[in-house]
Symmetry: C2
């Protein structure tokens, strides 16, 4: 009984965070008002302040959601002993496309840039809790492959730059031009991912 009550509470909270995230993605941080959020969540403005102390706090919660899942995927891939080094890097790329282009975690990047000066804590947490661990997880997979003699040694700064760059830009482009162009025609995720992956694999060949 206690448990089911708790679940209802946390479900309501999780629901609010999910809807708020979509609303922030549509209108930006400063461009989203508490009134808009209230309407989208079908709740009164004042009721928000029972769940979150401020608009800032709600936004920070939205940004923080999803970090763990995104990074844990990469860590699990590295630990999976049934996979070859080549299979691991391929799965890692798929994982990054999914978590950056599709999920809110990556799509929120331009909003972190938006508030980088006014709420520096958001960018700081994103760097510390997501970027650093994502980078380390990817570096571990590459490093294992090099140690095993499967991959050519890499300058990891450059490798990370050409792996992450196209993925984040694809995500940003799809946010920028969501209302302008046919996204699948102009930014075909599967096709670009395949071409990008081919180049990454070629870079790793000895």
């Amino acid at each position: 009984m206690q448990d089911s009550k708790k679940n209802v509470q946390s479900n309501r909270r999780a629901e609010i965070v999910a809807i708020a995230t979509e609303t922030f993605l549509e209108n930006g941080y400063a461009g989203t008002s508490m009134a808009q959020l209230a309407k989208a969540c079908d709740i009164q403005k004042a009721s928000f302040y029972h769940h979150f102390p401020s608009k800032d706090a709600l936004f920070i919660t939205c940004v923080n959601e999803g970090y763990a899942d995104a990074v844990n995927g990469l860590i699990e891939i590295r630990a999976d002993e049934s996979l070859t080094d080549w299979q691991k890097i391929e799965r890692a790329i798929h994982n990054l496309y999914a978590s950056i282009v599709t999920s809110p975690t990556g799509r929120l990047s331009p909003l972190i840039a938006e508030v980088s000066r006014t709420l520096p804590g958001v960018a700081n947490a994103f760097h510390k809790d997501y970027i650093t661990h994502q980078r380390a997880a990817l570096e571990a997979i590459v490093s294992d492959g090099v140690t095993n003699g499967a991959f050519k040694a890499q300058d990891f700064d450059v490798f990370h730059h050409i792996v992450i760059g196209p993925i984040v830009t694809l995500s940003l482009s799809r946010e920028m031009f969501a209302k302008v162009a046919d996204l699948e025609a102009h930014f075909p995720v599967e096709k670009l991912k395949r071409g990008h992956l081919d180049i990454i694999l070629r870079e790793l060949e000895i």
Copy 2:
């Protein structure tokens, strides 16, 4: 006399646009108030409305500035008969890094994402007047090289993805973490550009 008067006027206007652009970059579009802009430009709020009919119109002017210069650079590189195809692609990459990472044109990308739903005209103009021409200019340089037998034939969608992706992401990262990290230590433009260029040149080799 008429001319010098005109220059004073347009200089004042250009000065306002330059300062407003920096202020928008700092605080985002919705996060920047006319009062902030007025203070930054050392002018009264109401005086803005002599130069621009609205905040929207001022922002659109800020975004549009710099398109022509950025694209013309690539067009001139293609037309320069003193350069080999390899020199052209190398200069094109340098040009893209300069115009996307350093200049306001590229740095404003996250702000275009911010207003993509509320001011879709901004994203539309950016796509039509900048992205399309930049893509076409780069494609022409690659296509010339292929025709001349210097470059391997490319799927240009994928090529554009891996050329532009790391550059735009570098620019976005530097905006996101401007207040968090030592930018040159975490995002060393010259080093990443050199590594990225090496990979692009390798992809073009026959």
